[in-house]
Amino acid sequence: MDFDFSFLAEYSGVLWRGLLTTLQFVGIAVVLGLIWGFLLSMGRTSANKGLYWVTTIYVEFFRGTPVLVQLFWIFFCLPLFLGVELSGFTSAVIALSLYSGAITSESFRAALKSIEASQFDACTALGLPQGVQTVFVILPQAVLRAIPNLLSNVVSLFKESALVSAVGMADLMYVGQNIANNVARPIEILTAIALIYFAIGFPLTRAVSLVEGRLLKVVKA
């Protein structure tokens, strides 16, 4: 068995573009997911029963089904429902963002739940109005505590983003498989792709544990 990694240099341009596409998907899904997830978590902690149930079913459904199924559903079914053409890019962004929103809302919800009752009591004792209480007391603490989870969601999304290759998006995974098929050297190219994913995924994961350790100290202090 002889390996030849030298031909990879030839494809560095395509691989780079694939990686940028992957990062672009992750970036958009993270930002949209943060907004959508925050709104969902408001619904899930709301006293309004209707709102609570709708958001709960949404979140449980997106967490309880494979992302691949969600992606195919959006890609094949949503255009039929809406009666409009959706590009592969749009469907992939929609699918990843809807999933991202579901897992993000759980992070926010857990953070909101972790705030002690004494904080609310203190707000009442200080006579703070509801709005001030939410914005200046609860929100900053919730965001701070949600940070490690939110970061690990970014890692999950980064890994799940490889799925968009299944609907023909030219991300890193897609480009890699394409080259592997063309040059009939799957070992070199797929290993290289895996290493590129690792080179980003590993520091991200490390960063999560680091931030977690730091925040634990801050919150305890």
Partner: protein, 223 residues
């Protein structure tokens, strides 16, 4: 929206979907067997003071945790046959990739649980004259299992969902059958929705059970 639903083909294809579900469950089961056993062995190995043991295991865990499951699966599917000159079925490759992926995550769960076991238990084992193996089997394993159980089940059901990826290497699981029927009959909405509901019907009860078990374990530990 003026879409007319037609469930005829879903009803007709239901046996095929059920067959796919069985294969999905089979993949999940075997991946979990590998994940639970290998995960524990890796976690025990990580306790070692020998660097030559810890380093490869760390590399294994981090590599599987930090790359997409899809690339792992595709890598196994295309590269294992060439590297080792073996021709295993796509199903077996799927089980192997999913199992190794799960074992990496489970090893972390076990490790966290083992760390939570008070050090006094090790001292007590020594005082009772248990050897290392006896200590692992009778003292560490039972406690690690109980402590890690919620995470282990969550990971296990995660693999149930990830197993849909094997459809991309043409293993005829639930996802594959659903895609097949939907393209054959031009009824993606009915078919893919049914597939999604089947996945949900399996994973939702399990995730609810985890919440229950978590509460039980907490109470058990409090006593």
């Amino acid at each position: 929206m003026n879409y007319e639903f037609d469930w005829f083909y879903v009803k007709k294809g239901l046996p095929q979907l059920i067959e796919g579900l069985w294969l999905t469950l089979e993949l999940t089961l075997w991946a979990n067997v590998i994940g639970l056993v290998l995960g524990f062995l890796v976690a025990i190995g990580m306790l070692s003071k020998v660097k030559a043991v810890v380093w490869p295991l760390t590399a294994y865990i981090e590599f599987f945790r930090c790359t997409p499951a899809l690339i792992q699966l595709v890598w196994f599917f295309f590269c294992i046959p060439i590297l080792f000159n073996v021709w295993w079925s796509a199903e077996f490759m799927g089980i192997l990739a999913l199992g190794l992926n799960l074992a990496a995550f489970n090893a972390e769960a076990y490790r966290a649980a083992i760390q939570a076991i008070p050090h006094a238990h090790t001292d007590a084992s020594t005082a009772l004259g248990l050897n290392a193996l006896q200590r692992i089997i009778h003292v560490i394993l039972p406690q690690a299992l109980i402590l890690a159980l919620p995470v282990l089940i969550t990971n296990g059901i995660g693999i149930f969902q990830q197993s849909a990826l094997v459809a991309l290497i043409s293993v005829e699981d639930l996802m594959y059958q659903g895609r097949y029927i939907s393209t054959q009959t031009f009824r993606p909405i009915e078919t893919l929705t049914t597939v999604a509901l089947i996945y949900f019907a399996v994973s939702f009860p399990v995730s609810q059970a985890v919440t229950l078990i978590e509460r039980r374990t907490k109470r058990l530990l409090a006593n």
